[in-house]
């Protein structure tokens, strides 16, 4: 029988990168919790703007790309590792969009001054986005590390992908 040089790496030739895929799913879940929290807010007509439209579209794009990433990183695809890190970084950038703007905004509604986002909600959605970003970045980083290791191992034992 062929000698197995590195059991961990050899096993990776036949098993999925389940941890990266799971982290991507986690990022999707956290993002879903984020937009449920934002979209269920009903503070006057603050959210009836172009910004929320862009946010909705970006959410859909994020969900799609994160799902594609989950499938890609599962199969040790480097491209999806990089994409996963990129969408993770964008999740952090999003904090500067709706959450921060809403938190710092006050609107007049029925003669009353209303704070659009309370501190508790701001912390909640920020934590969700940060965790989602961490999950995406970790998924990508793990995928890239494993992919390069696996490529090197394949070269060492002289097998094609």
């Amino acid at each position: 029988m062929r000698e197995i040089k590195d059991l961990r790496l050899d096993r990776m030739r036949y098993t999925n990168n389940a941890i990266s895929a799971t982290l991507c799913y986690l990022a999707i879940l956290l993002d879903a919790l984020y937009f449920v929290s934002i979209y269920s807010s009903d503070v006057g007509n603050y959210y009836y703007s172009m910004t929320i439209g862009v946010s909705v579209v970006y959410n859909l794009v994020f969900l799609l790309v994160a799902f594609l990433c989950s499938e890609g990183v599962k199969n040790y695809a480097k491209l999806y590792g990089y994409v996963s890190i990129a969408i993770g970084v964008l999740q952090l950038v999003r904090i500067l969009g709706i959450p921060l703007n809403a938190f710092t905004s006050v609107i007049s509604y029925a003669g009353e001054e209303l704070k659009v986002m309370e501190l508790s909600q701001f912390i909640y959605v920020t934590v969700l986005l940060v965790l989602s970003a961490m999950a995406c970045c970790a998924a990508g980083a793990i995928c890239l590390t494993k992919s390069y290791e696996l490529d090197a191992y394949r070269r060492e034992i002289g097998v094609e992908k």
Binding site: M1, R2, L7, R11, R13, Y14
Partner: protein
């Protein structure tokens, strides 16, 4: 690996149909036993009782000295390979083979080593990342066998594993099973209705009919000394020719034809003098001679041999001649019987 003992196993279904009657068998450690018989003879039911997939109505099943009659299938430490492979379509070959060990919470690295070893044995190393639908029938059946091997069970059970394969693949996979048995030295119980599989694979064959065991013996014993008319007709291809024959001193009378008996044969048939018996002659035991004349009704050339179909005193007969022959329909072919089998007409047992 382990020994296996089946004592007085009976299977009666809820509708009072009895599928298996008093099945007794002792399988030695590392032995390959083939259960053979026509459809509905109870061979698969027996195997399923061993696997625990059918309740045993009465009797005792002992694996490696332990009574497992009432034990659930998962605790019996056996692995079964099915006719239809029973692979998970959404899993790769590797995942299919590793699945049972994963369920047992085995260490992933141990699983990997076992799967790789099994894949090496079965020649599946290059197929491990493929899904079952990307494999041929023979490869799928090898995966099913691999899934059994990785568990290193006490007993392997095969339920007509080659029936879904075409003739060429069946031959190749049969040889692989034989090599696997030699390599693993495993105790195996193998069910088939194909006598060629039975004769080529088995250490011992259990021939069954209508729920009863007809004969247990080595392939040569079943071929050479069949216990009764059923075994004689089931084992051997083309099947044995049968005639009603009257024992008359040192000769057998078949519809006016007289067939001389050897001293030993005449001695064996002495208690039947003046009575009718069943005479059995294998096609390969019909050869050119001068005793009898066959009226040819058809001829099949098989390369090394020629099958000649015809009639002998009004009875259909097939001869397997070791030659490339060509015989016209209606032609008379002179033959002799080089070996004959005699069966009691009433009990159908061998004389």
């Amino acid at each position: 690996m382990a020994s296996l003992s089946l004592k007085n196993l009976n299977k009666i279904y809820d509708n009072d149909v009895q599928a298996v009657y008093d099945f007794n068998l002792d399988v030695k450690d590392g032995e390959l036993i083939v259960l053979v018989g026509p459809s509905g003879c109870g061979k698969s039911t027996t195997l399923r009782m061993v696997a625990g997939l059918e309740d045993i109505t009465s009797g005792t099943l002992i694996i490696d000295g332990k009574d497992v009659t009432a034990m659930p299938p998962k605790d019996r430490d056996i692995a079964m390979v099915f006719q239809n492979y029973a692979l998970y379509a959404h899993m790769t070959v590797y995942e299919n083979m590793a699945f049972s060990l994963t369920l047992m919470k085995e260490n992933p690295y141990v699983i990997h080593e076992k799967v790789m070893a099994a894949a090496e044995i079965l020649g599946l190393t290059d197929q491990l990342n493929k899904k079952p639908k990307q494999l041929s029938g023979g490869q799928r059946q090898r995966v099913a066998m691999g899934r059994a091997i990785v568990r290193t069970p006490k007993v392997f059970l095969f339920d007509e594993p080659l029936s879904n394969l075409d003739a060429k693949l069946r031959g190749a996979t049969r040889r692989e099973i034989l090599l696997l048995h030699k390599r693993l030295g495993a105790t195996m119980l193998y069910v088939t209705h194909d006598q060629t599989e039975a004769l080529t694979l088995a250490d011992r064959i259990v021939c069954m009919s209508m729920g009863y065991v007809q004969q247990i013996g080595t392939p040569l014993e079943l071929y050479d000394t069949p216990a009764n008319v059923f075994v004689a007709s089931f084992i051997g291809l083309p099947p044995m020719n049968f005639f009603d024959a009257l024992v008359s001193g040192d000769t057998l009378e078949v519809e006016g034809l007289s067939i001389p008996l050897s001293e030993e044969e005449a001695g064996r048939l002495r208690p039947y003098d003046g009575k009718f018996i069943t005479l059995g002659v294998r096609p390969e035991n019909v050869d050119h001679g001068s005793d009898l004349a066959i009226k040819v009704s058809g001829c099949e050339n098989l390369g090394q041999t020629t099958l000649v179909h015809g009639t002998l005193a009004g009875h259909k007969i097939t001869a397997k001649l070791r030659e490339w022959g060509s015989y016209a329909i209606g032609e008379e072919l002179s033959v002799s019987f080089t070996r004959m089998h005699f069966f009691d007409k009433e009990t159908t047992n061998r004389i």
